[in-house]
Assembly symmetry: C2
């Protein structure tokens, strides 16, 4: 054998301070709030507003933003299908670590494929993965086009763009769905409030 | 262009809750304690003892163990040189996220090459990367051989094993060096105490 590449040689170290103790210190339960939706649907805005609201209540959260991570952990990944899958896998694994550390981890990624989201969900106890679907119409997202990407996609200057020439698979089993009401998008604070209420009702905001 | 693989199209989202606010909530400063040394030098034991000691003082830390991460985030990496480098790079990037979240992140990896450790150091403000060198003699580590790996390496059953047929580059610029005193290895609590004193003296144990 040429190298040590044998999982039989990789041991698991259990540490004496566990998740339960960290959760007690923080007076909350670690979990992953996974925000999925089209580009421009408001994922980052919700993530930040939610982080702010949790902080104001004395809770520790951390936002894993898909775009930001592509500047660091995932900077060696592109947008080919296998790279997209690996991108989401890594974010899922890191989110799991943050939840284990006791934090409310807010992951914000387009994550268009059900299969990839389900793989991340499977990393955690099911109740600790809270999938939030930003169910906003493509026309709204494209009208916002905060990064000018829809324009480029429509012009054929970027290909494989979710919602234009690559599919977005709407969640089949999300815990929270956020959508327009009478054609009006709820304010970020209202949407964040809905997530906070969910977390509270499920006992995540206490140890 | 075939895909969206263009960093010009990846934006950076700044969140309204920043590191300073999380640090205030936790009453500590985020940093990375990077423990390096041979297999069997006591890295995992120190990491756990340090985590326990910090917890007893009300501080939130989290251990990133090289072996454990190879079961999750890094499970698609082997032990070829480029995989070892990528393994350490990912741990460095995740450690940076934890420090940004306000935690005292304790990374425990053999990390035998100066270049790879320096790359991780470069991800953070220099003062926030605290390199701890477990400077234990090979004979001691091999005598312990807690995982039976030295035996396998000596028998030629695993190749490229650090200290046997792959080099360990001792740190040139570590913040803390732990070694035997009069041929006796200090107790884990004593070594952890040395790291805690360092963190305290540098102001990491308050916001």
């Amino acid at each position: 054998m040429a190298t040590l590449g044998n999982s039989a040689n990789i041991f698991w170290h259990e540490c004496p301070v566990g998740q339960a103790e960290r959760q007690k210190l923080l007076n909350q339960k670690g979990c992953v709030v996974w925000i999925t939706g089209l580009s421009g649907s408001g994922k980052s805005t919700l993530a930040c507003t939610l982080g702010r609201e949790l902080h104001s209540r004395g809770h520790l959260s951390y936002v894993l933003d898909g775009d930001n991570l592509r500047h660091g952990l995932n900077k060696n990944l592109g947008f080919a299908p296998e790279d997209r899958t690996e991108n989401i896998r890594r974010v899922g694994e890191v989110a799991k670590l943050f939840a284990d550390a006791g934090l409310i981890c807010i992951a914000s990624l387009i994550s268009p494929y059900q299969k990839d989201r389900d793989s991340c969900r499977a990393l955690l106890p099911d109740a600790n993965f809270i999938e939030v679907f930003m169910n906003m119409p493509l026309s709204l997202c494209e009208g916002r086009d905060p990064k000018g990407l829809y324009k480029l996609a429509r012009a054929g200057k970027i290909k494989g763009f979710t919602g234009i020439d690559d599919p977005y698979e709407a969640p089949l089993n999300c815990e929270i769905e956020l959508r327009q009401i009478n054609g009006v998008c709820p304010a970020p604070s209202e949407m964040a409030g809905k997530v906070v209420s969910y977390l509270d009702s499920k006992g995540f905001l206490q140890a």
